[in-house]
């Protein structure tokens, strides 16, 4: 793990006069209408710490699950600009459809929380968001959300529309997205003093998702 000093070296800018402004621009990224610091900001893509390939190798070391691997590879192609959000959405929804159908027979309660598609949001999608700071990559990931929500409704084996116990429809309501992104994308990477949000308190009865944290710590 890098210490404070190392971290500072990532965020340090060449000229002291530019430092604060460029830092600010790197925080707010492309959403800020700031042209004069754009080059400094893009030069400090703070969290693009490793290539997608080596990231993928780490993922492979940590999971043997073929559905997750397929989703990982699809996301890697998407953020690299090699695949469209539409195609990626098709691959991902296809990858998780059969596991969702079999999860339907699990006891009611938290069966969807533990389903692989819901894990995808917390473990895979969130990790891609956290590791990509460029506006382009983030835009592709946003477009992927839109495209997943536009996929034709998933059907159970009896032909009825697939929903969670709370009635969220696969795929158009993106079941699990907000909960898992909030919990694992935002909360899990927060410093301890920021971990006491109402949402976390509500989810404390759920088992911890160790995978994401382990992967995260290894990549820092």
């Amino acid at each position: 793990l890098c210490d404070r000093r190392t971290h500072r070296s990532i965020l340090t800018f060449p000229g002291p006069a530019l430092r604060t402004s460029a830092r600010y621009c790197s925080i707010v990224g492309s959403s800020l209408s700031c042209t004069h610091h754009r080059s400094s900001a893009s030069a400090t893509s703070v969290a693009n710490m490793e290539s997608v390939q080596s990231y993928m190798e780490k993922v492979r070391e940590h999971t043997e699950d073929p559905d997750h691997l397929r989703a990982n590879e699809a996301l890697a192609s998407l953020v690299e600009g090699e695949a469209s959000p539409t195609d990626t959405a098709k691959i991902i929804t296809t990858a998780y459809a059969s596991s969702l159908r079999s999860d339907r027979s699990a006891p009611k309660g938290d069966r969807w929380y533990h389903s692989k598609f819901h894990e995808f949001w917390g473990r895979i999608f969130s990790d891609f968001v956290r590791h990509h700071s460029s506006g382009e990559a983030q835009e592709r990931l946003i477009n992927l959300l839109v495209e997943i929500s536009r996929q034709p409704d998933l059907r159970w084996e009896d032909g009825s529309v697939a929903t969670t116990d709370a009635g969220q429809v696969y795929w158009r309501d993106l079941p699990g997205w907000e909960f898992h992104f909030t919990d694992e994308g935002l909360r899990e990477s927060s410093p301890d003093f920021l971990r006491v949000s109402p949402l976390t308190a509500a989810s404390q009865t759920s088992p911890p998702l160790v995978y994401s944290r382990r992967l995260f710590l290894q990549t820092v």
């Binding site: 793990l1 890098c2 210490d3 404070r4 190392t6 971290h7 990532i10 965020l11 430092r19 604060t20 402004s21 830092r23 600010y24 925080i27 707010v28 990224g29 959403s31 800020l32 703070v46 969290a47 710490m49 969130s126 968001v129 956290r130 590791h131 990509h132 700071s133 983030q138 990931l141 946003i142 959300l145 839109v146 929500s149 993106l174 997205w177 907000e178 909960f179 992104f181 909030t182 994308g185 935002l186 990477s189 927060s190 410093p191 301890d192 003093f193 920021l194 949000s197 109402p198 949402l199 995260f216 820092v220």
Partner: protein, 140 residues
Amino acid sequence: VKYLAQLPFLLNATRFAATLLQRGEFASAFPTEASFILHMALEHSYDEHSNYLAQVDDDEWEALLPLVAAWLTIAGEAIYSHCVSDDESDGWGTWEVQRWEEWKKQLEKFAKRDDFNEECRGIAAQTLGKMIEIEAGHRG
């Protein structure tokens, strides 16, 4: 200080969430998240010893202020328009113009605090500038 190493990742996730919040897409959980960070960073009284945030050190400000900047700059327009509207039926709950004003006051103080490093002061000043810009845009 371990969490500063995680800050770039948290910041990326926050920027992503703030972008969705600004667009109003797949973002129903994010008003709560933004509200939480803004509350932790900007709504405490720092003079009271009873508040543990009175003891925050530089490192914690270095983590908090970039998150505040990301929420208020990227999603600032959405946040402001909810603060000035009286509609509480849209899931945004306690967003009020008094809160917005309080954030501005705190950021103004932070921009002048000697015990903050230059980077933190700069982020506070620029976030404040953006908020004033948003207000002007809303009026005009």
